[in-house]
Amino acid sequence: MMGEVFAAIDVGSYEIALKIFELSKRKGVRELDHIRHRMDIGSETYATGRISSLHVDEMIRILSEFKKIMKEYGASHYQAYGTSAIRETKDILIVRDLIEQRTGIHIDVLSNSEQRFIDYKSIALRHDKFEKVLEKPTAIVDIGGGSIQISLFEKDTLVATQNLMTGVLRLHTTMEQVHASRLKYSELVSELVNSRLSVFAKMHLKDKKIENLIIIDDYVSPIMQKIRSGDDGDGFATRDEFNKIIKVADEMSDYEVAKKLGIPEENVPLLHVASTLIKCILDATKAENLWAPGITLCDGIAYEYAEKKDYIRSPHDFEQDIIACAQNISKRYMGSKSRRETLKKIALTIFDSTKEIHGLSDRDRLLLEIATTLHDCGKYISLVYLGDCSYNIIMSTEIIGLSHIERSIVANVVRFNHEEFEYYNSGSEFFDGLSREDYLRISKLTAIMRVANGLDRTHKQKFRDVTVSIKDRNLIINVDTSADITLEKGLFFNRAAFFEEVFGLKPVIRQKKLM
């Protein structure tokens, strides 16, 4: 039986791309078409924060044509994402609305962390070799125009991720600014990159050994895909093999490289930058193997959609990566592991038992879990201004896999766990960019969080087994503990009042004393 045809659109900094996919349970994700239109909106928005009307017109023309192409394949759904260039546009709401009015295509804006997560997800979903590669310590390097993201994995789990401002276009522009000659090119790029990498290495690598490097980029990957295709899969090379390939390219003129590799000549300098960058990372991580699976954001969009619609199943638990990432942040700010585990357990129990009442989604459950994980990160800076400091830390840290809004929700929940709740019409700056719905999610999650926190007021983890039930207008929290919970009970009312305000249920503690 046939699946559906899906279109993924990537409005990138220097290219608008459309990919058409066929999704089915039997064949998974199959690419049908890949259309690219070169359009440099990045240099404009990075400099001015705006997209000129000339470019908007061009985008409208291209997206209208994309719409026709989608029709040619009978595409039933699409997802269009704008990345950094769109993100940095000040009047984005107006531009998006204009484009939507004229083309019928709605563009969602991806945060850096979401974008990286989608990229990463698509490798995992597309390649069965992913799990095998990840058995050994691995770094995924996602190279964009403006920045790169390095994510480290150990035992199949994300342990660290870091954004570095050494994107290919940015490095290339710098080279042009200093009028670097072709001979000096790799030397200068290496110098620039290594200075940033050494900081990263000190922070995250320490004496860890990285075995494999997975590369996501637009210049080296297509070449690796082309010349390293064989029985053992596409785009694999050892460090020595990779070095040999770039050495050959280094010795040829741009024209010869373009001809030999079948790429546009204008891409050759960028290819040199990207390959030098990769070489530096290989050297810094001492990785022995390189894999360029050749995926694009459009692939990621499709895999994400296919996973959501159950066309494909992933052997890898992506939520676990997001949680691991949050745990690493908590660790960095000296959060207490046992405390966050208790809090998480109680909060999730309440969440799961009150599903019918709160009507929140699985994704919100994940946000709650992250909020509990990061609930005390601000204490690293100040015990007095715990809420505000936590909020600031969360808002300035990238949590891979979360959108900007989701991160803001988590930060607010953590903040209101400690500070007084502010209402939507209070004009609070903390709600900037959030909708009414987001606000309601914050209030509901805060209510749950506060109750959970109230049960562990003394941070002694007195409650091991908690069950929750609803009776009349009460939320009955049954706790199994032999400890003295006078303090918790006494102070519980303060924490519970907000819950009652939000859900109309009064939380009540019932202690079932253990013998």
Partner: protein, 723 residues
């Protein structure tokens, strides 16, 4: 056996102009081969008329485009030498010298061979002056009734300047003297109207008459010319015809720098400059002087001929009713393609495996059906096609419009720059647009010459792409006359590439890589050179190395130089080139291993097929491109591999049979002269006419199929449920 491995490849200068033939002269030599078919007594008489007519219309085009171009170069003082090291002036001189000889030869054949033979068949082209009174009465009435009303005679005197004589029209010039008045001589001219048939058949004198007689329109007007100038005495009259540099665009065959040079000098370019004047040999000297002075042609551009001007009228004679026995019938009509002849759905058939068709031996109908069926098939989502030249009442255009009407997404690239078809193409491009198709009006600076159709269909199994790739245009009428090959496939690799081709034609970026296709102008030339080089390397390392390449023309210097190099390395190279060939075969030490042959026959050889031995695992390609600079550098062209063994065998058979052709093949000797094989064939040798063989084989294949199926009844399907 190839002479092997020259060790000092680097010693030679393969680009030395002495190793090349000038392309214009090579073209004239091609047209002489066409003319030789008019000479060939083994051809039926009417076919010989047709070949003479074709040679004349070819020549007209050559003048308007190529001779005009040479004159442009001279006017622009363009000093760059051609492939053979000649200046524009040297070329023009040589070309005109050869063309005078050529035209003389045409009229020798006309007067000395064909007219007497027509006489034997009792068909006479008569001069009205020599007819009986009864015939003259008939012609006089015909003149008064049909001809006179559409004539516009124009006199030239001090108040009336010399009129514009339209390109390629036939005219009659007269010198006149007023009946009453001074002795001044005036000039007047009248155009032979092209709205009237040029060949007028006379009524038969009595019943059962077997003799047929025709007069030519210009002769008729000449006979009654005094009726046009009533107050004058007509001193003398003669027909004349002028050809002008009428092409508004500069010929794309020219080098880029020349185009720029000419554009710069565009103001100096004389639009509509006369480049050739044809007159009857018996024209009055004074009259000729007057006309040639007014038209500003010099002596070398005046062609005085012994017979009717503009021999293309012979095509009209060819079409006279009767005389069927004097025409060619031994070539089979297009046959059904066995794979498609079982009444199955066309998409199902293609799904079973690639199909290679050889036109016109196998019918082009399936290509038309491919688009027609797609237009009404509810599962088809999109149709994309490139169109270069299409027939007047094209069923393909109708099908595309219908498809759009049925809600399919139809994208058509219409090449507006197809020479001589521009106006035609604009008309139906607009029609398609009106019907709801997405029309791309060609690409800026490039002609889209590739022939490709892509159909996207939604099937049980998902989206499936069907592709047709061909060497010839989507033109159902020329497909009956041109030999071409076309491939149907639904292999995903071809489908992906075809999609990428249309994405590029729509202005999107090139794909990250190609699976099967090579495209000009970006990759094809390098690909061809690489393929030749690979053979060279194989030859040098002692492995089997051979190239067979069949095309219309070859004049790309870099490619030819590479072929010379390969020949030196020991690669055996056989070229089957119908038209222009700037490569010289058989030069000692340079091209000893290269043979060049040209097949000029009943059908126009048009397919481009390339064979590369590849060290024992041969590769076959077909292409829309010749090995000419315009094809490889200024056009969008496609070369596609044919990979199925059965289809490879079919291509091998085509090449092999053509290499063995003894009847219609002309082989280039070491002096660059083409020798017709039938003329030098030892007596008693087996005669091979490749075009006849292909026709017979196609017919036999259908016959075999019919015998196989003769016991099976095939019920006709309800037309409504067909898809």
């Amino acid at each position: 056996m190839a002479k092997g491995g020259h060790k000092k490849l680097n010693e030679f200068d393969f680009e030395n102009p002495k190793l090349y033939i000038n392309r214009e002269l090579s073209w004239i030599s091609f047209n002489s081969r066409v003319l030789s078919e008019a000479e060939d007594a083994s051809n039926p008489l009417f076919e010989r008329l047709k070949f003479l007519s074709i040679s004349a219309s070819n020549l007209d085009e050559f003048f308007m485009v190529r001779v005009a171009s040479l004159k442009d170069m001279i006017n622009a003082e363009y000093s760059k030498l051609d492939i053979a090291g000649m200046t524009a002036k040297q070329q023009l001189d040589a070309v005109l010298r050869d063309l005078h000889r050529f035209v003389d030869h045409q009229y020798n054949i006309y007067n000395d061979m064909l007219i007497p033979l027509l006489g034997k068949e009792e068909l006479y082209i008569c001069d009205p002056k020599n007819l009986s009174d009864k015939d003259k009465d008939y012609l006089s009435r015909y003149f008064d009734e049909f001809v006179y009303p559409v004539l516009t005679p124009m006199a030239v005197d001090s108040s009336r300047p010399f009129p514009l004589i339209r390109n390629k029209t036939l005219n009659i010039g007269s010198l006149l003297k007023k009946k009453e008045g001074k002795d001044d001589v005036d000039f007047a001219t009248v155009q032979v109207p092209d709205v009237l048939p040029r060949v007028i058949e006379l009524p038969q004198e009595f019943e059962d008459e077997t003799i047929r007689r025709v007069v030519l329109l210009e002769q008729l007007i000449m006979a009654y010319v005094d009726k046009l100038y009533l107050n004058y005495d007509v001193i003398t009259s003669a027909p004349y015809r002028v050809e002008r540099n009428a092409d508004l665009s500069i010929d794309e065959d020219e080098a880029e720098d020349l185009l720029k040079e000419i554009e710069k000098q565009i103001k100096r370019r004389q639009w509509g400059q006369a480049i050739r004047l044809e007159v009857d040999k018996s024209i009055d000297k004074k009259l000729l002087k007057f006309i040639s002075r007014e038209l500003q042609v010099d002596d070398s551009e005046i062609f005085s001929v012994n017979g009717p001007l503009d021999l293309t009228f012979l095509m009209k004679v060819y079409k006279l009713e009767g005389f069927d026995e004097l025409k060619e019938h031994s070539y089979k009509a297009p046959q059904a393609v066995p794979e498609f002849d079982k009444g199955e759905d066309i998409f199902e058939v293609i799904s079973k495996g690639d199909i290679l068709m050889h036109h016109p031996y196998e019918t082009f109908e399936n290509v038309v059906k491919f688009v027609e069926n797609a237009a009404v098939d509810p599962n088809v989502l999109a149709i994309k096609q490139t169109l270069y030249r299409v027939s007047g009442n094209s069923p393909i255009i109708a099908a595309l419009a219908k498809a759009a009407d049925n809600g399919k997404q139809v994208t058509v690239l219409v090449e507006l720059k197809a020479r001589f078809d521009e106006e035609n193409n604009i008309v139906w491009a607009k029609m398609l647009e009106k019907a709801g198709c997405h029309v791309i009006y060609g690409l800026v600076g490039l002609k889209t010459h590739c022939k490709i159709t892509l159909i996207v269909r939604r099937e049980e199994d998902g989206i499936k792409r069907y592709v047709h790739l061909a060497t010839g245009n989507y033109n159902d009428s020329t497909a009956k006359q041109y030999t071409d090959v076309g491939l149907f496939t639904c292999a995903p690799a071809y489908g992906e590439d075809a999609t990428a081709v249309f994405n590029m034609l729509s202005g999107y970026s090139e794909p990250l890589s190609w699976n099967k296709l090579s495209l000009a102008p970006l990759w094809l030339k390098d690909r061809i050179i690489d393929l030749i080089k690979r053979e060279e390397e194989h030859a040098l390392s002692g492995e089997p190395a051979r190239i067979i390449a069949k095309m219309n023309s070859i004049c790309h210097k870099e490619v030819i130089a590479e072929l010379y190099r390969a020949s030196c390395a020991g690669v055996k190279i056989d070229l089957i080139v119908r038209g222009i060939c700037c490569l010289k075969a058989g030069i000692p030490e340079i091209s000893e291993n290269i043979t060049v042959r040209s097949i000029v026959g009943n059908f126009l050889e048009h397919s481009r097929i390339f064979y590369f031995e590849n060290g024992g695992s041969p590769e076959y390609y077909a292409s829309s491109a010749d090995w000419m600079p315009r094809n490889l550098e200024r056009r969008v062209e496609i070369m596609f591999p044919v990979e199925n063994d059965k289809l490879k065998a079919k291509l091998w058979h085509i090449l092999d049979t053509e290499l063995k052709d003894t009847e219609k093949a002309h082989v280039m000797n070491e002096n660059g002269v083409y020798v017709k094989q039938s003329a030098v064939l030892p007596e008693g040798s087996k005669k091979i006419n490749s075009q006849k063989i292909f026709g017979d084989e196609a017919s036999k294949a259908v016959g075999e199929l019919n015998t196989q199926n003769s016991r099976v009844f095939v019920p006709e399907m309800n037309p409504d449920n067909r898809f």
